[in-house]
Assembly symmetry: D4
Homo-oligomer: 245 residues x 8
Amino acid sequence: MPRPYVRKLSAYEQEPVAWSIEGFAGGQTRPLSADPETGAATELLELPPGWRAPPGRFRAAIELLVVDGGLAIGEYRLGRFSYSYLPAGVTAGPWSAADGARVVWMPAGRQAFDAGRDSVPDAQRERWIPQIDSSALPWQPTITPGFPVGAMRKTLRVDPDTGAGTWLLGMLPQVRDTRREVHPTAEEGFTLLGESHSERGVSRAGEYFWRPPFIPHGPFHTDVGVLTFFRTDGPLRTDYSWPGP
Amino acid sequence: MPRPYVRKLSAYEQEPVAWSIEGFAGGQTRPLSADPETGAATELLELPPGWRAPPGRFRAAIELLVVDGGLAIGEYRLGRFSYSYLPAGVTAGPWSAADGARVVWMPAGRQAFDAGRDSVPDAQRERWIPQIDSSALPWQPTITPGFPVGAMRKTLRVDPDTGAGTWLLGMLPQVRDTRREVHPTAEEGFTLLGESHSERGVSRAGEYFWRPPFIPHGPFHTDVGVLTFFRTDGPLRTDYSWPGP
Amino acid sequence: MPRPYVRKLSAYEQEPVAWSIEGFAGGQTRPLSADPETGAATELLELPPGWRAPPGRFRAAIELLVVDGGLAIGEYRLGRFSYSYLPAGVTAGPWSAADGARVVWMPAGRQAFDAGRDSVPDAQRERWIPQIDSSALPWQPTITPGFPVGAMRKTLRVDPDTGAGTWLLGMLPQVRDTRREVHPTAEEGFTLLGESHSERGVSRAGEYFWRPPFIPHGPFHTDVGVLTFFRTDGPLRTDYSWPGP
Amino acid sequence: MPRPYVRKLSAYEQEPVAWSIEGFAGGQTRPLSADPETGAATELLELPPGWRAPPGRFRAAIELLVVDGGLAIGEYRLGRFSYSYLPAGVTAGPWSAADGARVVWMPAGRQAFDAGRDSVPDAQRERWIPQIDSSALPWQPTITPGFPVGAMRKTLRVDPDTGAGTWLLGMLPQVRDTRREVHPTAEEGFTLLGESHSERGVSRAGEYFWRPPFIPHGPFHTDVGVLTFFRTDGPLRTDYSWPGP
Amino acid sequence: MPRPYVRKLSAYEQEPVAWSIEGFAGGQTRPLSADPETGAATELLELPPGWRAPPGRFRAAIELLVVDGGLAIGEYRLGRFSYSYLPAGVTAGPWSAADGARVVWMPAGRQAFDAGRDSVPDAQRERWIPQIDSSALPWQPTITPGFPVGAMRKTLRVDPDTGAGTWLLGMLPQVRDTRREVHPTAEEGFTLLGESHSERGVSRAGEYFWRPPFIPHGPFHTDVGVLTFFRTDGPLRTDYSWPGP
Amino acid sequence: MPRPYVRKLSAYEQEPVAWSIEGFAGGQTRPLSADPETGAATELLELPPGWRAPPGRFRAAIELLVVDGGLAIGEYRLGRFSYSYLPAGVTAGPWSAADGARVVWMPAGRQAFDAGRDSVPDAQRERWIPQIDSSALPWQPTITPGFPVGAMRKTLRVDPDTGAGTWLLGMLPQVRDTRREVHPTAEEGFTLLGESHSERGVSRAGEYFWRPPFIPHGPFHTDVGVLTFFRTDGPLRTDYSWPGP
Amino acid sequence: MPRPYVRKLSAYEQEPVAWSIEGFAGGQTRPLSADPETGAATELLELPPGWRAPPGRFRAAIELLVVDGGLAIGEYRLGRFSYSYLPAGVTAGPWSAADGARVVWMPAGRQAFDAGRDSVPDAQRERWIPQIDSSALPWQPTITPGFPVGAMRKTLRVDPDTGAGTWLLGMLPQVRDTRREVHPTAEEGFTLLGESHSERGVSRAGEYFWRPPFIPHGPFHTDVGVLTFFRTDGPLRTDYSWPGP
Amino acid sequence: MPRPYVRKLSAYEQEPVAWSIEGFAGGQTRPLSADPETGAATELLELPPGWRAPPGRFRAAIELLVVDGGLAIGEYRLGRFSYSYLPAGVTAGPWSAADGARVVWMPAGRQAFDAGRDSVPDAQRERWIPQIDSSALPWQPTITPGFPVGAMRKTLRVDPDTGAGTWLLGMLPQVRDTRREVHPTAEEGFTLLGESHSERGVSRAGEYFWRPPFIPHGPFHTDVGVLTFFRTDGPLRTDYSWPGP
């Protein structure tokens, strides 16, 4: 998944560009990272009040997280920090954002849309997640042995084929890890709330990174607590070392 | 599994119709839901006192739950809330209901019977469950993270190929979940005892539903406790959101 | 606590008698058990719609459980299965039952009331429990080693001096204990919901007993589940044996 | 502990008044709550850069929490969210705040200071807590059965005589309790970080309350997470009910 | 509790002697150990078929364990491995052994009996254990840290004043501890079933010991499993060492 | 796996017959059960003192449990209750029983032996278990939910292809299960120590059964404890019901 | 317990001085710390081969830990890292060290010895610990919340009156705590094995400290693992902060 | 995996031999074990100060553990007890050891190096572990049921294809296992710190063994604690027996 390394950027400071998917909708988006080869990307979509799109299906899977406002997909009404996963070829919609919305939009490949009410016959409809309101999920223990106490996670999705994961990580104030981490997978993160400190400096709401595999990072700490949206492209493994002098 | 959506009905208020499987038996049944294409169905069978049927095998698997009276299948004597799973082609019987019985009868396909004492050679006999008396099973923790405390389950079967599940869910009085659920599988339920409240109104013994995948439901609560028989057609996954206004 | 043994009675079939506490209120009550020496008692009070009583304090502690309707004590509004403990000399009220109420009323001694807004100086006000709505308590594990799985409790009060306890015990359907129990304390129980079977026969809502120490009882089982309100006059200890032939 | 009820105030909006303890130091303070009879109080002290006070002992115990800046007491250097408990008659100091400090200052009685290096002979020196840096404490489970998952605590002190407690409560974003609570003890709280919502409205850093026993409060929730400093004057017991309509 | 050290004896090989308690009953007994000063003792009583004694009370507490046959004490019918504790001054009975019985009889002091149906006024009646049928108790974990896995206990009594304990210890086959133990309390044991090996040689049913405090013992193992009845005269503490060469 | 049903027999009462495997050894054996088609069997081998056999390999896997005496296989010395699994084609030995031995001998098929020191090239040597001395294994929890407390197991082998299992089950005295069990697998058992009671009557050391799938059995209890060697031919699943009247 | 602060010393480098207790024995000792007022002390006793002392009792309690060689006290033979506690007035002995021994000797007060075989009548004999061989104790979890994983303890004694504790603390290699600790009790430590690093520098076998209450210490780490003998004079409480710059 | 059995050797006493891999580097190495057929080996490499090698890839996977000094591989700086796994065909480097290093070097096959910055296209790059500093890993429970308490592990790698494992095992002082073990896999060990005793005698830092499958070993104990580096070539299974006389 050869996206260029995005060490750190502030999503809200990215210049918006025109966004359009034929037959679906247009508008503005702030590109965060993209794979020029496959078209897989992460962007911050800004849907104006009254935005609408017809029902239909995408040719590559879409993951999305609403970060502000509200988005209706068919009968499902996604508010702040609500998540959806739409497999390739599964139909959904109509789409609308009566009061506008900001959405982290994460297509798994080149975006193409086919309007209509029917899913492609062999689409993996049972993998569809029409809506998870993260605030309705219970906080759960983290999965990395030795991860600091005071951090908890809400798992949104684990891909049964690749082990790729999508989750929220919450940390209470005063959580600290003095070690350096390396993962064998790419990892991207979007800070939703609070503030944390790491080798990348301070991260606040809207901070984004897409880090290729095997880039050491950390240590980190948060004085005031932090909520971050994470994705990997394979099973999360964390190897630890101490930061250099 | 395209059965039509049965949002809610009272099994005992359904009109009984004639029931017969050639070579097996006849009588009356109350249809609850059915897949017109495959013949898979759920019905409430009413076996009169003295009912009998010969030993033999079905061409599609049968699940059944006795809800009143008693049913003998060969040497196995199934009383109230006893369960059986008979794989396609596995022989069982003779069948009888000396004092009559009401049985939730759940064929996995078009019903056809071949009398005889031998199973089909490649029948999956090791999957046969001749009898589980649910009252002899220990109550076990529920399997959904964050499910309300005070609910417990008795697992009756998990299909090793599809992950489809069959279980009893018991809830103590005063159990409540204020969230809305969505499953990627069809789910059907038959209330056995007690009373619960949900977006479908009040449910008491005999209430039945067959819900297609991705239909939001909930919240629910029970003031007096409730015992429900559940089935899904795939692995149970529960996505949560809050009910709309 | 030498109340006469009440093996089993149906509270709702007891003949109501006049109830009055000077300066407080009058009405009707159904006596369930009483200690003729100390005046400690358990009764089922029936408060008519519009019932009222002034603020004030009792000379002996009062425990109460609302079983129907609603009772307001000062700012606290107790609905069905709400509980209160009022220590001797602690003032509370005014009292009212706008729509009427049925209340299990459990004075710890002879009932006498002093109207007024001040508590007695050395009253143990920190022991006051103005209101527990049992439906807002989480179900918790039972405390007796080896008690059947499927039973859970909601602790309402434990007396720090005597170890006397007050709690709700809920059992899921199909819970069964084949043993006989003996306690070194008196125990009283009032069935709130469901149905259980024991050596005393069937118990349904309104069934009451007051059992002196060292009377063997059991085995018991419940087919449909049961919710019972319990009190002991000391720490609960359970000694087990098998029922005789 | 008859302090007047402080339902909600913003500490930083309180008018500062002159503060002086003879022989110790002067300056400014923002009174938050006080018991006119005993002199026990909670105030927000503002120590200017360069503030100093000699070593000595107080005639009533002092609890303090640094909320900004730094405070040196003898060899102990207390930074942000550091806590100290100084029993009556135990000597400590000299005191200084080189860069100034804001301190929640909680004397247990009328403030009087005796300079000197010796503790009173029978002072309970083993109860002295010269310094806890809360950020060095591990987050621990909460102690109330049924408290929402996602909340954790850091215990600062439990009084062995009275059971009075002092602790930090941290909540991750999206934590919610829909119930109403009552405690038999007075409780005071000072919001340190984040934001929560309750029947008192929104609470942000600097929000303070001192609530007498038996005042119902709640429900509450936090969207963004919250860190609060709490004290009770006796063992914490929480009785639950549902909020009224 | 200065009983002479009984290192090991076989109860069934002890010579029976005449047994009588004035006003209660006579018969035969096999003395196992005794404190000549206080009269506290452990003996193996043999009650012939048809044995009877009137109701009444003892002046010193009695513990007993039925090892064969049956014993009725009032309404309580004690079979094999049933236990009872009768505090001093608490009345019980009438007593009978219709088919005879062998009973481990353990008076806490000089035996004296007062016939009658009333307990002494200040007798600790709430400590009475009329009957525990040990086979109705659940097996529980042992209480000594590091005790071998495969051993479990059934607690019969813990004295709230002295910490003295009475329990059954069961060990599965192949349980082994290679260490040496010392206790600060006297300990006595009576092997009920199976066989174990220790520094005392082989122990089978009927083996008895009364060991003063601070006598090292062990290691032990059992090839076939063993069930032993134990008593201490204070809280059990186990100090470990390795056996000498 | 069509061995004839062996409901119950006493191994030690079976008539010994001549035993010989060409090139390996001869002697006597007591047949317990056998599959006439495949040659899979369970027998009680009696090896006289001084018995010897050369190193080599079997054409079908062998499981064995020494129940008396000792057996040396190459450098491994198996004593009482030691277990070995020898995959087909894996060479082992030389074999000897200096002092004689009794061995439960369980070939997976027709017995044929090829002398020599080399294993067959594709033999599954990593599945070889040359020796487990069961007395050196820790007791572990049982794996069936709701199985009685007081029972523990020592797992000897689980077949990675079929899920077939071999284990010891130990029960403390007074363990009891009042239910009836059914398994979808054949199960065989050989009582090693102690005594249990079931619908088959009393079982003591040497009792053997081979039960086809789906034969109900139970309830059972043990007064004195019991140790049993078990095998199934597939994954153990236990379905429960109550015994009929 | 006003012993002077011993920040760090190497026991083996202390100058030995003459040691004698009248009527008991003489020899050499290396004083480590002492309370000049009460006579309580910690010293490293060196007993030459063949050393002997008669049986008798001390007027103040003695704790001791053998660090080299062997010590016999009556029938108890204490080897390396064996511990004993002898309450005041309890008789023990005769004493001998056939091959010599080094012993950490910790009298609770002025040392005085009365030869003889009888304990003082009211001596707390049940508190006597004649011998714990620490290598026969199981390693147990540490008791301080948040203490680093990889450290475990073996509790030797907890004083029931004062809460004073004596224990071994073992740490695996690579254990590290970056925080600073303060205790309200005096603490002393004697390094037995391995090596650790702290603000006191490197500690190896024989390193000793006696630290008054409220002296901050830490952080610490061990690269190679460490075993330390610890004592406090009251209940251990640990308050954490971060080390200063 | 037919390396010759290395029962025990001291790595530091092995004669160093010339080491060179064409295009990579030369120097000295001490061979510990090797498979003459595949070239898989374990050796103790000694890199002189200033050692360097270019970036590139190996044709067989390399595992390495730094035991002294430091090794830089590209941006990763491995200090004492740091570990790396480099899959075949994955490029890494440049390599350097500014201050020299001793490294346990474990190629999975014949060593051959191709300089360059690109990995082979189908190399399993996601299995690369560039660096684990073992001192930054948390100690975790051991995985063998019944393994002695006081031992913990740090897992470095588990091969997803073969189950082969690499880990550190730490034991506190006084850990002991009296049993004999057998594994179905080859196992090699390199003692890093401390000292242990087994049937091979004493092991101290630098002790090495490579043991073929099915060789019994043990018992073992450690008086002072021990840290060992272990590898197996398949899933670890441990079969226990008692050591012979």
